[in-house]
Symmetry: D2
Subunit: 133 residues, 4 copies
């Protein structure tokens, strides 16, 4: 069980979001940031660098946005929908773009893993978004 889940189970106050969906989103965001960060470096090690530029750029964006969102929603409590909603929408957008670009390079194992991480994160953010509505 991830620390995110354990922390939600021991949180000293009530919070008004489903703990399963919240923990799944935090974990998927942190994992996606980890995968895309590593994919940036792997892309930079490829021969055909010119083909990898878009993937590198999108991975960098994905790391930044997913890390920030994991931090914000990982401090749960008192969800401010006006903040959390556009933030999760940013994650959905970047995970979709980054996942699509990684998928174009899915013959490279590191981009296949990046695709998987982005797809899972996009799904987890969408499910949390749906629950917040």
């Amino acid at each position: 069980m991830s620390y995110a889940r354990q922390m939600l189970d021991t949180y000293p106050r009530d919070f008004n979001v489903d703990a399963d969906l919240l923990a799944a989103a935090i974990d998927a965001l942190d994992d996606c940031a980890q995968a895309c960060n590593a994919d940036t470096a792997a892309d930079l090690s490829e021969q055909n660098l010119a083909e990898m530029v878009k993937c590198i750029r999108l991975c960098l964006d994905c790391v930044d946005v997913c890390t920030a969102t994991a931090r914000v929603i990982g401090r749960q409590t008192e969800y401010d929908a006006s903040l959390v909603r556009p933030l999760l929408e940013s994650c959905v957008a970047i995970c979709r773009s980054c996942g699509d670009e990684c998928e174009r390079h899915a013959h490279m194992p590191h981009c296949r893993i990046g695709t998987e991480a982005c797809r899972r994160c996009e799904r987890a953010c969408r499910e949390l978004l749906d629950a917040l509505k």
Copy 2:
């Protein structure tokens, strides 16, 4: 002239956003993150901690969201509106909430400075958002 502005002036390719608005937003985001990070620590040094909790939470969110957004838009080029728009909207939302809460404590000089940083950042993000539409 900030490094952000100098970097835009020497960027090797064209980009389709007004450089003045973009540089102003990057600088305001980085400055807001700097101010809110310091305000977190100053709030934690106050006597009446219970009254400062909401301000601390919002400042933490503001630091995370502004830093990530500055990173993403500071790597300019090829604006993906589906990503940048919700990200800037997240900044507008958190800067407004955080600025309002800081303003409630504006008799504390550090919260007065935090208010100013949030207001300026909210304005710069709105202006960039308007230009992207």
Copy 3:
């Protein structure tokens, strides 16, 4: 198997660090950042706030240092010992201080989890440090 480990196994080039130790450190750093971030918020929800201030401060430092270190070592390849060594030493230092402070509050379940995350991260960073020497 974490994405960090999968990414190391599919990395397009050689790298001169033991993949088990490296993956364990990246995972422990990311997990520690996740736990300490959540602990910050849990601490802010406690009644006896004045007693939690030091823990909050150290958790904030721990999140920042562990996240940055995970990013740097997660982009592996070409280890620059002059950079990676002091960075890992920073992590050892903050994880020890933060773990000690969390342990003082170990009757609170969220601080018990924070202690565990810090101890595991300190150990993983020490082991990677030893391997780099």
Copy 4:
């Protein structure tokens, strides 16, 4: 006057570091992160990508390490030398490596600006380190 400096001047408690040196370091770290982040993107826009890979990697490290250090020392108070010293040493190391690499490309204006930001940051971190000893 930067927000970092204003915040130090209005901090509610004493702190045992020279405010000029501390503010100069925070500003130089944030500025260096801003410059190196933009330089990453500019490097990725160059024709001779293979020659830029090392510069991109070092700029990414520089952004991560400088941002984390600015956050930690920007929450000043109660300096834990065992944490702050290796962290500042990490900054000195990465700013020197990154500044040297940027200087090799100093015919590109964006790398000239990156060099300047790294040199200034290295100097400010060294001066703060000296004052902490």
